[in-house]
Symmetry: C2
Subunit: 584 residues, 2 copies
């Protein structure tokens, strides 16, 4: 009974045709200022009139035929366009709907099924593909979540050719409601994720019709060339990343994108899950600041009523203030804003930070251990829970399996050892020089060779290349009570974590003593003023008793990009922001 | 052996005394222009000289005594100030440390313990209180996480009076390292969370000394008067909210604040946990927008390189665009920015949104059901997992137990019924009038009386008071194909969720059809332009097939405030932002 309501809602409609304007072609008035019509002109007019009458007649005949066809259409209530759900014309059917993934599991490859097929099912899907094979046969591919299935519409005594035509002509990406019988195809359908079943359509209604797409979903499923490789031309036959990002809502429909963003959420959820199990509390620190805090150069300025505010470049200072307030172990997942005018494949002006900070007892390696275990938990979680999604992406971007060490056996390579490995490999480099990106990758290869892992820690970075709040190593001249030639020489209690020679996490023990912090702020290679508006409260928070602490920050998009081997960080952001892009 | 290292690091130091300047009191030069000294003056000078010599002698004697005392101090290596952890002077001891909560559990009230006491333990703590009772006895209260414990320092043959004096004088809020014996006190100590144990101190070192606090932690633990009640005067004896927020890092140390922010993270974690179990995927939508999207009035403007950007007022449009892109069920926990110049107890310019959006099959009440179950899951989770914290807050802000309906039995009150209840109670109100805050609270009381629950849903709000993207109810004139007098009359498929008559969640079915959306944008009571820069991409995303969907948004700070009965929303934000406050 309820199903009948849906039928009433679904009058058969073929795809609307553009109004034919040919009939009015001869009706233009003669240009002004001309004399009365000539003989030739009269003859021409008569001819055109006759032509118009013929066209009108033909149109009327066509319409009559269409009406008759519709009247004779045995399927006329089984297809068409549904009224908008929510409008007065739409009546709910209340027929239960199924998930294709469940059906595929329920009727597996080994389930016996005779020629009559399995059950009749109803489901909503998106049309990935529709084509008319002949007047009597059309094929469609439906997608629902990450599953795709083939469907057949075959004309019969109970299914009209009109319906076949309608189904085969449904625009790609339309949302449809399907009723059909599940059957086994003669051969497995390799192009669909559910290859061992197909749907024989009995009813098909368009729920939300797609207009002509400005790009195809499949365009977004092609792999992007790596940085440095030849890029497709703007406006050329191959859709560029720029076009994909402009039409991001279509681009995101691609199955690779869906997999990327499932994995991205997987990283977030594994991060939170592990840290909550270790006693961390999630926090929300302000993104609107009264003054720039971490150097004024890369900060966005905000009009704040009659004053100015600045967007937080990281939760660093606030995480530490909460440690000083006794919050022991804190974490935050939040947007990070960087006003860096860089247009590379690695920079975004807005990205997501996975941040944490914690007290430790005596040695900052206690924190390094927590971070190592966290990262291993994430990598192992991705491996087991997101295997399918990872394999899908790796089928496009050929990246080797990521080699992991055992828990507790992550190599912690002191900076001096890392430098020695590079020197032994022929690199000329100073003791305190920062590593370039190629140097880092070279070291990654050496570490893989020596330790058999793609994941490792580089420990005790030179003090001079770390931020002012970094604790100098115990034997650093910065700790000297006597004046020293270079207080920025030596090393620090800081570390970076690497994946295949690329940094994914940066962290350190922080200075928890206000006086020493002020000293370091003044003598840092880029000095900052401890009394400035952006830093005063931060510095003061260490005057009221603060335990030793360390922490780190992970760029979420970066970890997704490196884990999957994506050639551009924009691919790891739903709606990426860079100096040239603020839409959609 | 290792412990000995720590001893070497901890030379006995008493609290540094201010340098005595009395000895130099007579050394001021005579005023210029005076004649040679008179007899009386000479006599005076001789007297002063004698006085100064006596003072110097006394001082020398005191210092000698002090040195002798130190030499005789049997405890001289058992107390003092530790060198900064991380510096060259600090050597780790490697003695394992304990958590007080674990000790309290291990040695419970029923554990037998003789007079010699339990084990010797070492732990880090914050000094909540320290006082010298006599030359031979001092008491301290230590806090660690949410636990407090009393400690005793008693002079004996092996513990010097100097050490008693040092311990009793340690500044409040200093971080200390304690070694002591766990014993049972004669009477339970009511003022501490661990009342059945106390620590008899053997060693005590200051790890991070607190300076004089600008406010006491206890000041922040006093309840704040409710809005409308008399507020303390600025600069008066009672610390105002403003002062607390200025010294927020100290204020946050209070046990009530710690409880509030544990509960706040509890809400986030329950929200994510439930929705992930229901197949929702977490998303990160951009906070930097190319154009204001939801009305231009309350939006913050950002300087974006040579152009302008705007801070997102909600993830609303992006959530929907992702539904259109086939993401089915999405959620986001993110900062929300509102440039509203309101200085009330209920407004913040930056707060945290808990947002979700999902596809449904035929009726938006499918989504209402998910939202009801989500809220019940959160409330029940808070009740079981955060009982202790909730009770602590409720002991200060007397709020009655929150009455919940059974799952699946949340009253869904149609707007018309709500209005009728209010009219029956004597309120004069039009059919489509919005409810004022007092009206809402009045309705909350009526609902509690009728349905016995503090939690309920008000359904089918008047169309005119909801945003442009709200789906009109099926019988609304907005769906009429003929021109109508007032397309904004009638109701909509929208809902608010209430706690004790105050809104906590707002949501609706959204329009998923581009043409109808454009129509509603133009004819809305506050019309917007579908072709504007901020809305074009949003509108277009519904042109490529989009399933029906609905969702909702929850203000995180609001739910914490209402659940705990806090009188000001600032108390539910770590570092609140309002038109007048951007620091700390």
């Amino acid at each position: 009974m309820a199903e009948e309501n849906a039928l009433e809602n679904a009058p058969a409609q073929s795809i609307p045709e553009r109004p034919k304007e040919a009939a009015q072609a001869g009706a233009q008035p003669a240009a002004e200022g001309e004399k009365g019509p000539s003989k030739a002109a009269l003859k021409k007019a008569a001819k055109e009139k006759e032509k118009a009458e013929k066209a009108a007649k033909r149109k009327a005949e066509e319409e009559a035929k269409k009406k008759a066809d519709e009247a004779n259409d045995v399927s006329r209530e089984d297809y068409g366009e549904l009224p908008m759900l929510g409008s007065n014309d739409y009546l709910p059917s209340n027929v239960p709907r199924v998930r294709l993934a469940q059906i595929a599991e329920q009727y597996s490859e080994t389930t016996p099924m005779d020629e009559a097929g399995g059950p009749e099912i109803k489901f909503r899907a998106t049309v990935e593909n529709a084509r008319v094979q002949s007047a009597k046969l059309a094929f469609l591919v439906f997608k629902q979540s990450s599953e795709t299935i083939q469907a057949v519409v075959a004309a019969s005594e109970t299914l009209s050719r009109q319906m076949v035509k309608f189904c085969g002509g449904i625009p790609t990406e339309s949302t449809v409601l399907v009723t059909g019988i599940v059957k086994k195809p003669k051969e497995a359908i390799k192009s669909c994720t559910i290859g061992h079943l197909e749907v024989h359509i009995k009813k098909l209604y368009i729920e939300s019709r797609a207009e002509v797409l400005p790009m195809q979903v499949a365009d977004g499923e092609r792999p992007l060339p790596a940085e440095g490789e030849e890029q497709p031309e703007e406006g050329g036959p191959i859709v560029t990343l720029n076009t994909r990002l402009t039409h991001r809502v279509i681009d995101l429909r691609g199955k690779h994108n869906r997999a990327i963003f499932r994995i991205k959420d997987g990283v977030v959820s594994l991060f939170q899950e592990y840290l909550r199990s270790q006693g961390f509390v999630g926090i929300q620190t302000p993104k609107l600041l009264g003054a720039p805090s971490e150097g004024g150069s890369n900060v966005f300025e905000v009009k704040y009523f009659n004053s100015k505010a600045y967007l937080a470049q990281s939760p660093q200072l606030y995480k530490q203030m909460l440690i000083s307030a006794g919050y022991e172990r804190v974490m935050e997942v939040c947007p990070i804003f960087r006003a860096e005018n860089s247009n590379t494949a690695r920079h975004l002006t807005e990205f997501t930070g996975l941040d944490l900070e914690m007290e430790f007892e005596e040695d900052y390696h206690e924190v390094v251990k927590v971070l190592e275990d966290l990262m291993l938990y994430i990598f192992n979680g991705l491996k087991t829970k997101y295997k399918k999604e990872t394999e899908l992406i790796r089928s496009v971007y050929n990246v080797e399996e990521f080699k992991l060490p055992e828990a507790g056996a992550v190599p912690r390579i002191p900076w001096t050892e890392g430098i020695q490995m590079l020197r032994d490999d022929g690199l000329e480099i100073g003791d305190y020089d920062d590593l370039s990106t190629p140097d880092e990758k070279r070291l990654g290869a050496l570490v893989l060779k020596k330790y058999g892992t793609d994941f490792y820690v580089l420990d005790k970075f030179p003090l001079a290349i770390r931020p002012f709040y970094t604790m100098p190593a115990h034997d650093s001249p910065a700790h000297s009570k006597e004046p020293v030639a270079d207080p920025n020489a030596g090393y620090s209690n800081s570390y970076d974590f690497f994946m295949r020679g690329q940094e994914i996490l940066s962290g350190a023990q922080r200075i928890h003593n206000a006086e020493f912090l002020c000293k370091r702020m003044r003598e840092h290679v880029t000095p900052v003023d401890p009394n400035s508006d952006g830093l005063r409260d931060y510095v003061n928070s260490f005057r009221y008793g603060c335990p030793p602490h360390a922490g780190g920050g992970i760029g979420l998009e970066r970890i997704v990009m490196l884990y999957l081997g994506l050639p551009n960080i924009r691919l790891a952001s739903l709606f990426p922001r860079d100096p040239g892009r603020l839409v959609p």
